[in-house]
């Protein structure tokens, strides 16, 4: 009776058996990598805006304080994207004819709001509050990245829950003195570890509650 299989059959069989074992683990590894990729998190993605607003120019160039435009950041959950009138306080004088500012002028003229593209998107079931982070010495750039050097705004961090928890579990490395919260160039000093620990107490940060689900999900 003739052979049913060629000599390769054994090796094939072995490979198949082996891959049955390995495939699941490969799949997990792939998913792991994918979920952290910029493709999924949207980190460092720049979105097209109706007006190519440059934080680099306004913050580093002109030295505007964050709060000049994001006026409610210290009081409210939302930092507040400035109303058109805020833009026009300067731009009624400067670059009054600039092509790129046309949408702003029409907005004011026709009383139609400007539609910006949201850059830092959190899921709707996440209740993030700017004011409390500011109050507890977490600086803008900690989450928004080096805004002062961004010609166009981009999402600086992955914004995954793991990333949030990273700080909520141990805020010490990120706590600044209150005066430095809005400092776009802030870098953690050498003695950040000690300073942070001190501030943890000074700012009455209840880091036991920080990791409660109710802190962000309601």
């Amino acid at each position: 009776m003739p052979q049913i299989f060629g000599p390769a059959a054994n090796s094939v069989a072995r490979v198949v058996l082996l891959s049955i074992l390995i495939t699941p683990f490969l799949a997990i590894a792939l998913g792991y990598a994918l979920m952290r990729s910029q493709y999924v998190t949207g980190a460092s993605i720049t979105r097209d805006q109706p007006v190519p607003f440059s934080h680099e120019h306004h913050v580093t160039g002109l030295g505007l304080d964050c709060r000049y435009c994001h006026s409610s950041v210290e009081r409210s959950a939302v930092a507040g994207v400035p109303p058109t009138e805020t833009c026009m306080t300067c731009h009624s004088q400067l670059y009054t004819q600039a092509e790129m500012l046309e949408p702003v002028r029409t907005s004011l003229a026709e009383n139609r709001p400007i539609h910006w593209q949201r850059v830092n998107v959190l899921p709707n079931y996440v209740y993030f509050d700017h004011s409390i982070h500011i109050a507890k010495g977490v600086g803008c750039t900690t989450c928004h990245g080096p805004v002062g050097s961004m010609p166009l705004m981009r999402q600086a961090q992955s914004l995954t829950m793991g990333w949030c928890l990273n700080c909520h579990r141990d805020p010490v490395p990120y706590l600044r003195e209150r005066s430095a919260v809005f400092d776009p160039e802030w870098k953690p000093p050498a003695q950040q570890e000690e300073d942070g620990k001190k501030r943890l107490i000074a700012y009455l940060i209840d880091n036991k509650h920080l990791t409660d689900c109710s802190t962000c999900h309601r």
């Binding site: 054994n10 069989a13 979920m35 992955s158």
Partner: protein, 458 residues
Amino acid sequence: MTAAELDRSDALRWTLPSGRSYEAVNRLVSAPLIERAAWSWRAWWIAFAVSLTFTVIFLIAVAWLFVSGIGIWGVDSTIVWGYAIANYVWWIGIGNAGTLISAMLLLMRQHWRASINRFAEAMTIFAASIAGLFPIMHLGRPLYFYWLTPYPNTMTAWPQWRSALIWDFWAILSYLLFSIIFWYVGLIPDLATLRDRARSRGGQRFYGALALGWRGSARDWHVYHVYQLTMASLAVPLVVSLHSVVGLDFAASLMPGWQETIFPPYFVVGAMYSGFALVVVLAALVRGGFGLQALITPAHFDVMAKILLAASIIMGLSYATEWFSAWYGGGRVDRDLVAYLFTGAYAPLYYAQLFCNVVLPQTFWFPIVRRSIPAVFLIAIAINIGMWLERILIIWMTLSHGFLPSMWRLFQSTIWDWLTMFGSLGLFATMYLIFVRLVPAVSMHEVKKDVIDQEVSA
């Protein structure tokens, strides 16, 4: 075969003369798979058509479930669990039996297992896989079922290890993998036989590939037996743990009628009970369907009936224990619940359950009943119905009649509850028919081994 024939001296042996040789066994079992021409598959096709219809119904029911939500079932604010969980427990119970039978009987050197362990194990795999579907279908958001697994995720969130459902998840998974391996390896020698007997090239390649190069050499057999014994001794504790964990789904709560230490053992027995009952049913069908009267004899039914009888007595004992502990424990709610079992809205179902699971099987005390295949067949079906009732009532009774009277409700079944349930039966039948069509329903090599042993002992 009549009772008269049974009384013949060799009646109680596990094979009839007609099947008492290697060649006979091979021929009897492999004929349907190899000698296509000589064999008529009409009955099979009819059965397949029917079961396929039910499978389609099942798929439609599940699709509609995913489209519109759990609300299509009868579950409500108080009785948040319903058919899905009952079906799950019932199927997993059945899933228990195959491996248990095959492994435990192997360890106990019960030769007669040879004729039934193959399709019993197959039953295990299909039942367990179907059982595995129900907990997922039952989820409010099935697409997130994988959150029950501890995989590295960007939320850095992990499962709740204290939850019986997590234990359950692992129990089912490991049991399913185990059963598949156990069953498949047991199949290898027969696949080799089929490879060698196959007429067509295709058949040879198909079975050849599956046989993984089995040669039947002394070494092959040695490895095989060591392996089989090891697996069998692993199987028994695994099976016991599996359904104990299922029992813990209820016992690890504080609801009256659930929070009982007796649940794990009582669930294991219940599982074996319903599983064995279904084995009997399948045995009768395979025997008739493939003309294996020579290999599956009334003796098999006789001995399986005895096991069912024993199980039914244990079940009765467990029920009685529940009533006693409720009375003895003396908690208001527990007592109310037992009263509710017998007098509440579901009482008729409860009596039906007691009749099917405890009263009816007592007829097995009489040999005449045990050896009448139709009788055993029908009683086995009754037992399976009774066991399903037990599962659904465990859920309905406790949830309908909890701690606060203000939230007492009655369950209202919907058409989708029923379609999903019968659909799952269809799915099982379909898978089973495909199985018997492709691989030998009875383990040839083990029956052959059995034959020699009998020759020797005779």
